[in-house]
């Protein structure tokens, strides 16, 4: 147990909570909201859930993931050049790119939900969820971690 264990813990925990939160909202909260509530209130609840989750993402998860991720990469001796090398570097680069795409999708979801484009919002939400599962997949594929 070193401080690095704590950093790694924060990184893994953040990812688990963020992906798990998306899964919970998509598979548990939203279907129930759709079934149990009617028009007006449904929109309000879904909007509130979305805003809360977005706020948590931007305020907690994103800083934690970025901070701990950069620290871990620095400790692992990752350089810009090494990101292009096949193996660890390449997988990490792909994971980061996918993470950026997921964040873009999540952001787009937030914008679309606010702009009343429900279909697009839904597409982006599911894409972000599936993509973040992909991020976890790539994380597990990183050799030696």
């Amino acid at each position: 147990m070193t401080w690095w264990s704590v950093v790694r813990f924060a990184h893994v925990m953040g990812a688990a909570l963020w992906v798990g939160g998306q899964v919970a909202v998509s598979l548990v909260v939203l279907p129930l909201v759709r079934r149990l509530l009617d028009g007006e209130r449904r929109a309000r609840v879904m909007g509130a859930v979305g805003r809360r989750f977005g706020l948590l993402t931007a305020a907690v998860f994103l800083p934690v993931q970025l901070g701990s991720g950069v620290a871990l990469a620095w400790r692992g001796g990752v350089t810009w050049a090494s990101l292009a090398e096949p193996g660890y570097g390449r997988i990490l680069a792909a994971k980061l790119a996918l993470f950026c795409a997921v964040m873009a999708a999540a952001g787009l979801h937030g914008w679309a939900a606010g702009a009343g484009r429900a279909a697009l919002a839904r597409v982006m939400a599911v894409a972000a969820l599936v993509g973040s599962v992909g991020v976890v997949l790539l994380a597990t594929a990183l050799p030696g971690t």
Binding site: K95, A101, A127
Partner: protein, 900 residues
């Protein structure tokens, strides 16, 4: 709607409501279109796939075509018999089973364990028999009608796939090797193509062809169908039996009968064409397909009649594009062009719209496809073949895209307002639910990321500079690749000489993309690899062979040692590891070849020097290198040809070792002359890697004459021997340690002026012995460390102990000596007889008559000279390198001195 494809002359099928079966077919045809898309992808992926050819063929035939046949033959049976639709649940179950079995077969054969493939083939057989039983029951229950005869074709076709699938399962299970395998393969292809596909198509065309042409069905159809089926099916059975049993007459008569049946069946088709010219894309495609089918039948007939059964499969291979693309693809696409609009339904307007959509640009598509087939069939150069593929794939891909669009459009109509939130996106525009779209988008993103993560681009880190070259003989035989592991230092440019010694065809494909063509028995091919970086896997791409164990691995030096696996197979060819343990003990018990292997294994792998048993006997038939040197021939010009040969020699008692030689011997031929003589050496590289030569006796700029020449090349090396001495010549190709340690050295003797005559003259070239595969990991490690397994006079450790040099007491004996190294010199000494003359590196250190004497002729690596002595009395006088470690390691021989 029941008459889809039969009575289309009445016009498009009725509008809504779309019957249940139509939607069933809609979905099912999506599967076909999906497999077609995969086929295009497989063709584009090409070499990336583990068994590209086989996969391409089977994704198409087993995936797309078999699914289509299963769907449509049942549909047509129902339509033609006006029977009640069989329970859709079971139809779907059959379809699902087939589509589950197909990936199992594809996976099992291409990569997985063969039982997966065999089980998949079993399921396919069960499905198709079930399908046949359903068709038979439909016929039994139906009222007699005009079209019942068609069902016979379908049932027979299903029977053919049952046979073909069984044969395929046997092939996947690797039952039968060599000729049996080839015959199984030919029968499998024949029965599936001409049976399952051919019979189905012929049967369908009776009704489909007039429908597509929008003409009346010929009166003769029924009779033609009966005659055709009665000829084609026994013909096919005969052909398959003939191929399996190797009866040539049957293998020839069968296709002839089948062709006769097909011709009989074609009579009403021709009649229909006479009535009405083809005018749609579907019609032209089907027509072209029939033509290609006839062409294939004719060629098949000729080949089956002129070749023995186990060569038929191989000979038919060039025909594959014509059959697969010209016939099967065109039939499939042509039929779908015609049938899809009907199946999609949605009213006359929608029907017309869909038909127009699917047939868009059909003239160009049909022309391109058929031109592509011609190019693929003809023996044209590779770029033209690529063009052929492009011409073939583009129309198929275009069809897939158009069909997907049509399918999606009809789905969107069938399920309007599918999106739960019709708010912003606009209804009807996206028929797919947002959730599904999101899943697809996420999966695509993830897949792209995974692809980026797992593919190694040629970044600067992967560039490996070449450090050396090596050729390895690779043998394909008995479902294995030998050697199964090749070890080489990082940066080695490997050349694999691949030979198929098996009785069936194989190839070798490396993960880095290099591949041999399919090699027939006894054929060879050479693969040039990029400088070795990471480990590379290799395998045979013939279906199932990889699963059966035809794999190999090329590993950078050290990788194996780290992983702790043995490298018994690292030795060339023979190194099956039989003598791994005998390396240390084996020789004293009897020598012989297996002990020799043991030493190669033991010494070559571990990097630790082996202990030679120099007292063991040499193999019978071994002859020593003749140490006696002839006097210089007359004349001042000497012409000699030296040819590099890579061969195997007995380098120590009972120990055989692969060596690289000048002229087949170690050392190479002795060149002798006098000062001022000109030597013209024609140097020929008969080896498998680059070699060069460097004559120390000459004075030349190294750039030209000492350059490395490639196998098969030659150069002329002319030098004048201006200086007397015993000179070394050696291979000048890097890494020289390896080339010299593996035997590439020899001597040039230039007599000093007024050299007195001696009674006997001998030449001893001393060199080090490194056991193991030449250039292999273990050997190179020993060479680098300067830890030889032994020392040799004239290429054999202790050779002259077993075949002593002879002289007589009182004779003047001159011993020329050259130290070839590569790392150690010599301190040449004759026990019991001091030297009275020593000539070293161009100067006399001692002359006969001088008061002094010498005990040793000392030579650093690459130095040479001679010593003279007179044996005082009869006896056995050892000649040794007085570096005792080296003497005991083999630099040891005997003079048997007799009485005068």
């Amino acid at each position: 709607m029941t008459s889809v494809g039969v009575r289309i002359e009445k016009g498009p099928p009725p509008a809504a409501p779309v019957p249940r079966r139509a939607s069933w077919h809609l979905r099912a045809n999506a599967v076909v279109v999906g497999w077609l898309g995969l086929t295009v992808a497989a063709a584009l992926a090409g070499e990336v796939l583990p068994a590209p050819r086989w996969l391409l063929i089977h994704v198409f035939l087993l995936g797309a075509v078999s699914t289509a046949v299963l769907i449509w033959s049942e549909h047509f049976t129902v339509a033609l018999l006006r029977a009640r639709t069989p329970e859709p649940r079971w139809s779907l179950a059959r379809l699902a089973l087939l589509n589950a079995a197909t990936p199992a077969v594809l996976y099992g054969v291409a990569v997985g364990p063969w039982p997966v493939a065999a089980a998949g083939a079993g399921v396919v057989v069960v499905v198709v028999l079930w399908h046949a039983a359903v068709l038979v029951r439909l016929v039994r229950r139906a009222l007699p009608g005009r079209f019942g005869h068609v069902i016979g074709w379908y049932v027979c076709a299903a029977g053919a796939l049952a046979v073909g699938g069984t044969l395929g399962g046997l092939l996947a299970a690797q039952v039968g090797h060599g000729g049996v395998h080839e015959r199984l393969h030919a029968a499998h292809a024949e029965v599936n193509l001409f049976g399952w596909v051919g019979l189905t198509v012929l049967g369908t065309l009776f009704t489909l062809w007039p429908t597509v042409l929008r003409t009346r069905m010929s009166e003769r159809t029924r009779r033609a169908s009966a005659v055709g089926l009665r000829l084609a099916v026994p013909g096919l059975a005969l052909a398959v039996a003939g191929l399996l049993a190797g009866w040539r007459w049957a293998a020839a008569a069968g296709p002839a009968m089948y062709a006769a049946g097909a011709l009989a069946a074609a009579v009403p088709l021709a009649e229909a064409v006479r009535q009405r010219r083809p005018h749609t894309g579907a019609a032209w495609m089907l027509g072209a397909a029939i033509v290609w089918f006839e062409v294939a039948l004719a060629v098949n007939l000729v080949i089956a009649a002129t070749r023995p059964a186990d060569e038929v499969g191989h000979a038919l291979e060039p025909l594959l594009p014509a059959v697969l693309v010209g016939f099967v693809v065109q039939v499939l696409v042509g039929s779908l062009l015609h049938l899809l609009p009907a199946v999609l339904g949605g009213g006359p307007a929608r029907f017309k719209e869909n038909a127009a959509l699917l047939e868009r640009g059909w003239v160009a598509r049909v022309a391109a496809l058929n031109a592509g087939v011609v190019l693929l069939t003809l023996p044209v150069p590779a770029p033209v073949v690529l063009l052929g593929w492009a011409l073939v794939l583009a129309p198929v891909a275009a069809f897939v895209v158009l069909a997907v669009v049509a399918l999606l459009r009809s789905r969107a109509l069938a399920v309007p307002q599918a999106g739960a939130e019709p708010a912003g996106g606009g209804p009807g525009r996206t028929a797919v639910s947002p959730a599904l779209a999101g899943v697809v988008a996420g999966c695509l993103l993830t897949a792209a990321a995974v692809v980026v993560a797992t593919t190694g681009g040629p970044g600067p880190a992967t560039a490996v500079t070449a450090t050396g070259a090596r050729t390895v003989e690779v043998t394909l035989a008995g479902m294995s690749v030998r050697p199964s592991v090749i070890e080489a230092p990082v940066g080695t440019v490997l050349t694999l000489r691949v030979t198929n010694t098996d009785a069936q065809r194989h190839d070798l494909r490396l993960a880095t993309g290099e591949r041999t063509p399919l090699l027939a028995v006894g054929q060879s091919a050479t693969l040039e690899l990029a400088p070795l970086g990471a480990a590379v896997d290799g395998w045979c791409t013939v279906a199932g062979h990889r699963a059966a164990g035809m794999t190999m691995r090329i590993v950078p030096t050290g990788a194996l040692a780290r992983s702790g696996t043995g490298t018994a197979d690292g030795t060339t060819g023979a190194g099956s590891g039989t003598g791994h343990g005998t390396g240390h003990a084996g020789h004293s018990t009897g020598g012989g070849p297996q002990a020799a292997d043991g030493t190669v294994g033991g010494g070559g792998d571990t990097g630790a020097p082996a202990r030679l048993d120099l007292a063991a006997p040499f193999s019978p038939g071994w002859t020593p290198y003749d140490a006696a040197v002839k006097p210089a021939p007359g004349g001042t010009e000497h012409r000699v040809e030296i040819r590099v040969q890579e061969t195997e020699r007995e380098v120590a008692p009972g120990v055989r070792q692969r060596v690289w030689t000048f002229g087949g011997t170690v050392p190479g031929p002795v060149l002798r002359g006098t000062v001022g003589d000109v030597f013209t050496v024609t140097f020929v590289n008969g080896g498998t890697m680059g070699h060069g030569v460097d004559f120390h006796a000459g004075a030349n700029a190294p750039d030209g004459v000492m350059r490395t020449i490639q196998p098969g090349e030659r150069l002329t090396y002319r030098f004048r021997a201006d200086h007397a001495g015993a000179w070394l010549y050696h291979c000048s190709t890097m890494p020289m340690t390896q080339h010299m340690a593996n035997g590439m050295y020899g001597a040039v003797v230039v007599d000093p002026p007024d050299l007195p005559e001696a009674d006997r003259e001998f030449l001893l070239v001393q060199g080090e012995l490194y056991l193991g595969e030449p250039g292999g990991d273990g050997q190179v490690a020993k060479i680098r460390a300067g830890r030889p397994d032994g020392w040799m006079f004239n290429g054999t450790a202790a050779g002259y102990d077993h075949a002593p040099l002879r002289a007589e007491a009182g004779e003047r004996v001159r011993i020329w000596a050259v130290a070839a190294g590569p790392s150690s010199g010599t301190a040449l000494h004759v026990v019991g007889a001091p030297f009275d003359t020593v000539y070293k590196e161009g100067a006399y250190l001692l002359r006969a008559g001088d008061p002094g004497g010498a005990q040793v002729l000392d030579l650093a690596p690459a130095q040479g000279g001679f010593a003279e002595l007179v044996f005082p009395e009869p006896g056995t006088y050892p000649v040794v390198d007085h570096t005792m470690r080296q003497a005991e390691g083999g630099a040891h021989g005997l003079f048997e001195v007799g009485a005068p």
